[in-house]
Amino acid sequence: MTNIHVPDDALISVEKLQMHFPIKKGFLGREQGAVKAVDDVSFYIRKGETLGIVGESGSGKSTTARALLRAYEPTGGKIRFKDPDGVWHDLTHKSEAEMRKLRQHMQMIFQDPYASLNPRMTLLQLVSEPLVNIGVTNKSELEDRVADLLSKVGLRPENMSRYPHAFSGGQRQRIGIARALALNPTFIAADESVSALDVSIAAQTINLLQDLQEQMGLTYLFITHDLSMVEHISDRIGVMYAGRLVEVADTASFFEQPLHPYSEALLAAIPIPDPKRARAKKRGLVKGEVADPANLPVGCAFASRCPHASELCHMSNPELTETAGGRFVRCHHSADLKLQGANYDQ
């Protein structure tokens, strides 16, 4: 593919990232092919920017985020990260010890605030754990840092001796954020971090993330299924389908006019929070079956469901290419298509 030009103010760049999981069968565990969870994914994120990632369930969004933080060992490609001193590091060739240092700067907030917090640890223990791990042992220093972090995320410091079950889902999400902030990271990957919350607490959490971004210049990778949320928070949006990025664009242009047929299908399926309009306009339905990452077709993975598919689409897999307008799309025919944008709410 044409190499993506990485701008000078990038904080992260990912080139041809690949994460294949072996499929093992039988008693001997012999390898029988692979789940191509992430295949040929390239993008960059600028410092202080939010890149939103949306896409099909099972398209490799979480796997991409985990591979970025090297929670998985990628099977191919290159991940580069610029540390706060401006030095680029190639994460794919770092030892675990070297990674541990760099992870101070890169954190992840998980989807499930219930499962990701150890119920036997107090708030103090939970939030101070990352600090203890890097060798801070002074008790009063730890307490001060935790108190500071808790107030930053809107939790009462006097509650630091409580256990997580005494907190609501939204509060637990904040505990997770406080933990992620403990080491002053520059980059946070938030994977479905508000999808289990009610709209008001989700809004509080999003506002908090945006405030922290302004105060501390944070850079976000924000994964979600909620397109209204992604429109609100992201500077640019990446769309994944069957392990690949199929489109990357700035937010406004993307919602105005998507360039990939799958993006168009996504926008047509956004639920409308207004019963009269919802009754008047049925959500778009995509026909056909989801691509199987263990058994991808030779051509475009969306071809069996795409209304614009041609013979070429079934025979050859398109590359991610840059358009004249500086957007990226992976489709043989995107230049000739005029696709529908989103229906805005009044």
């Binding site: 506002n207 996504l266 639920p271």
Partner: protein, 332 residues
């Protein structure tokens, strides 16, 4: 129990005794569902939505105590079952679960067994509730998978849950929940983890089946777009209370409770406008060990009336079109 209802929950109270004190998780919830009706339940995270749904299956967590209230279900033969008076594993409860009431959970992996094929699991449910022959069970299982739009149903019967994508597992669970033509389907955030195109397919499916089988549905979600699309009536929950219940249009266009109004304003709108701050509700959700006196929402309510709201628990006020809200603003 009223004649035309299939389910009636009256003054349900559920609490947990914890080391730090008592958590009153559900505090007097009331709602009822008619045959063929879709009741949406929305509300605060941790307000007792899932617990209320689980009480209908008599599947509350073991450390939960029901301190008051009843859950009554009317079977298709007319018999009314007092669910909370039954033992969790009584014959009647086993007959209801899966037979008359189907349930879809948020996370399909907790409901599906990892060691049995999808086909085996559907057939187990069928053998519990019907007297179909083995051969008829296989056919029925394949029909169900076809009905939920699974490709190649006969091959799918042999697959194990881990071999399916999230959306396909969710459909397998719906097929299982529907296997015995339940008259009530409980769906606890069945599409929250799915992309919008898969979600649209699954809602479409639930609605067409609901129509075909005249099945009642209780649908729990945080997504007001989903509520607008599928619900006939909506209950809004806050801190263990159903604070407002009304027809879906009244909830959106004529909400009576300040919490409902505030929630509606927090929905992120798709409006092409950049970086406006999202509206939120002032303050924090109260500590579950120290519930507020008076109206549970008074610590955050923009319309709070000093004195009354902080000391007296508001009664339910009834409006036209079966709308009801628990708020002093509407009491004479």
């Amino acid at each position: 129990m009223q004649d035309e209802t299939i389910l009636e929950i009256t003054d349900l109270n559920i609490c947990f005794e914890m080391r730090e004190g008592t958590v009153n998780a559900v505090n007097g919830v009331n709602f009822s569902v008619k045959p063929g009706e879709v009741l949406g339940i929305v509300g605060e995270s941790g307000s007792g939505k899932s617990l209320s749904a689980r009480s209908i299956m008599n599947l509350l967590p073991r450390n939960a105590t029901v301190t008051n209230g009843s859950v009554k279900f009317r079977k298709s033969d007319g018999e009314v079952v007092d669910i909370l008076a039954e033992k969790r594993e009584s014959r009647k409860m086993r007959e209801l679960r899966g037979g008359h009431v189907g349930m879809i959970f948020q996370e399909p992996m907790t409901a599906l067994s990892p060691v049995h094929s999808i086909g085996k699991q559907i057939m187990t449910t069928l053998s519990l509730h019907t007297d179909l022959s083995k051969k008829a069970q296989v056919e029925r299982a394949a029909d169900l998978l076809a009905m939920v739009q699974m490709p190649k149903p006969m091959e799918m019967l042999k697959k194990y849950p881990h071999q399916l994508s999230g959306g396909m597992r969710q459909r397998a669970m719906i097929a299982m929940a529907l296997s015995c033509n339940p008259s009530l389907l409980l769906a606890d955030e069945p599409t929250t983890a799915l992309d919008v195109t898969t979600e649209a397919q699954i809602l479409d499916l639930i609605m067409s089946l609901q129509d075909e089988l005249n099945m009642a549905v209780i649908f729990i979600t945080h997504n007001f777009g989903v509520v607008a699309e599928i619900a006939d009536r909506v209950s809004v929950m806050y801190l263990g209370n159903a604070v407002e219940t009304a027809a879906v249009d009244d909830i959106f266009y004529n909400p009576k409770h300040p919490y409902t109004r505030a929630l509606l304003q927090s929905i992120p709108r798709l409006d092409g406008q950049k970086r406006r701050r999202l509206q939120t509700i002032e303050g924090m959700v109260p500590d579950p060990f120290n519930l507020p006196t008076g109206c549970v929402f008074h610590t955050r309510c923009a319309e709070k009336m000093a004195g009354k709201c902080t000391s007296q628990i508001p009664e339910l006020t009834y409006f036209e079109n079966d709308q009801m809200a628990r708020c002093h603003l509407h009491q004479a």
